[in-house]
Symmetry: C2
Subunit: 341 residues, 2 copies
């Protein structure tokens, strides 16, 4: 029986078996999600519909014994609210008007972000009202650099051009990051005010940066974001997930002020533990491909994750999001392994 | 004046200024290369022409004061020699018949690889004969896992399906890796017999692997490869470059038997030094994007690299290959900064 075990872990307690949630647990691998998704004309409309987004969040909880729910939204609601139009190309991903193509960068101001994102906070309220008290509700946003990369190059994929922009247009990039820090802090604070129990910052594009640039575009803005959150009176735990940070994971854990650390697939638990401040809660890190495989490989992988994180307060998760081709019954089997059933 | 300074560094000496070569220094960013390339009907024919490949190797040395030359070839000559047809789609990259699409994996045997790759060794001989003695000649091959990923999925890109194959078809994948270890050892030994002064193993797809899989597909095959090379009587230094290994770089440095370590863009020199055996020569790691930018950003980046590697025997290089859009004059400027001119 879960009893807000995820929050206990985030407060530094080791809980056995570890609480579990799964990145993208509400999503395309569930047939009921695909059906629901068809009710909105596009993905952003879906994100902005409190009724549809709330239902998406509740779907996986009906199937699986998970310890947390996460808001259904997208990291690109921030640029969208800043007036930087976002759309999704089916089967490919998000598109924005790339700043790179524009001589002068018009970024927008953080002032009206929370007004424009009111439907997101209504979603948070609805989810919290529908959830049993023992299920932790996670609010989230993208890390400033990750969101900036989409705005700069207009889509996902190789981040080479963004790195070059950071070198060649330092003032523009730094000012974009400042606006994103303020907008993201307000957005996260509003989620907490609406009922989120903790927060996660997805810094999905932490990889490939030389250390001086990592300091400038990841460490400094993230520290500014966490500081600003605290200044706004937010006291809930913040999980930082700098995917692909590699050797620089320790600096992220020690220098940004996050309370807990998401660990990606390739980073050993022992490394994260050694690099992070003593006793920092860790979250991760099963290979999502194992969840597609299922069977003995999945079970062995899950047991390896549980064992390897035994020295830290641990929240079980994948090292990256669950993929659309995952059979839902594999997730059910995984939860059984974790919960020792 | 260079005096085989790269080999001195590979033997553990610190040389100041550091010797320098650039990954893909013979390549598309040079107009004379593009002209030369047009003389062959396809990329593999170009690789198999000793006259053209030798000329490609010599081109950058006429322009820049570099301390090493590297054989012009491709990591996919190994599958090609194993009978696994390889072709290149212009502007996209290599293609092979993916093993994933085949019920039974027919891999070929390592026996005839060096016979089939005779033109490559003739190229090595020609380059060595044409090079001044003080320029080090580097032979190379892909790491077994990196080459395997191309064979398994038939192209570059996301390696998710390869990871899944490693989980779901462990016997097939391990046997593929064994064949690649033997073929690669023979291929590298033949390059040394033809005149290569040292070797580099490009393990370009080291990223994203959970530690147990990294052990199985990277550490064990690489150690087997280095052991086999030594058993074949090869005594020259071997540089291992596990790009994207992140937190697992130290295990690669300590457990595979390589003599020197290539460091990718995102990995700080201090981290590599702390993780590697004492005094191990390190090679790297300027961001290739800085070489596109040029100017003060390039100079500051180069100085940061030189300073940060000062505690180790150091070979200056990029953290990844030079890109086609790099202006050649930026490379000339970089060499001047390194050589203190």
């Amino acid at each position: 029986m879960t009893d807000r075990s995820m929050l206990r872990v985030l407060n530094g307690e080791r809980v056995d078996p570890p609480p579990v949630w799964i990145m993208r647990q509400a999503g395309r691998y569930l047939p009921e999600y695909r059906q629901l998704r068809a009710q909105a004309k596009d993905f952003m409309s879906f994100c902005y519909s409190p009724a549809l987004a709330t239902e998406a969040v509740l779907q996986p909880l009906r199937r699986f014994d998970l310890d947390a729910a996460i808001l259904f939204s997208d990291i690109l609601v921030i640029p969208d609210a800043l007036g930087h139009k976002v759309w999704f190309v089916e089967g490919e991903g998000p598109r924005l008007e790339p700043l790179l193509d524009q001589a002068t960068w018009s970024i927008g101001a953080a002032d009206h972000v929370v007004t424009r994102l009111a439907p997101v906070y209504e979603t948070v309220q609805r989810i919290r009202a529908a959830l049993p008290d023992q299920i932790t509700l996670i609010g989230f946003a993208g890390g400033p650099w990750t969101v900036a990369t989409y705005m700069i190059q207009g889509e996902g994929g190789e981040k080479d051009r963004c790195r070059r922009a950071a070198y060649e247009r330092p003032a523009d990039v730094d000012s974009l990051l400042s606006v994103l820090v303020e907008a993201t802090a307000q957005h996260l604070a509003a989620q907490v005010a609406a009922g989120a129990d903790c927060l996660q910052i997805f810094e999905s594009w932490s990889e490939g940066l030389p250390e001086p640039l990592f300091e400038r575009v990841i460490l400094n803005p993230t520290r500014a974001l966490v500081d600003r959150l605290r200044a706004l009176g937010v006291t809930v735990p913040v999980i930082g997930f700098p995917r692909g940070a590699g050797a620089l994971l320790g600096r992220y854990a020690r220098e940004t002020g996050v309370n807990a650390l998401g660990v990606d697939t390739q980073t050993p638990a022992a490394f994260a533990r050694a690099q992070a401040p003593d006793g920092m809660p860790l979250q991760g890190n099963l290979d999502p491909q194992l969840l597609i495989c299922g069977g003995p490989a999945l079970e062995a992988g899950a047991r390896h994750v549980i064992e390897s994180f035994r020295g830290s307060p641990h929240i079980f998760n994948l090292g990256h999001g669950i993929t659309p081709q995952t059979p839902p019954e594999h997730l059910a089997a995984l939860v059984n392994v974790i919960k020792g059933r």
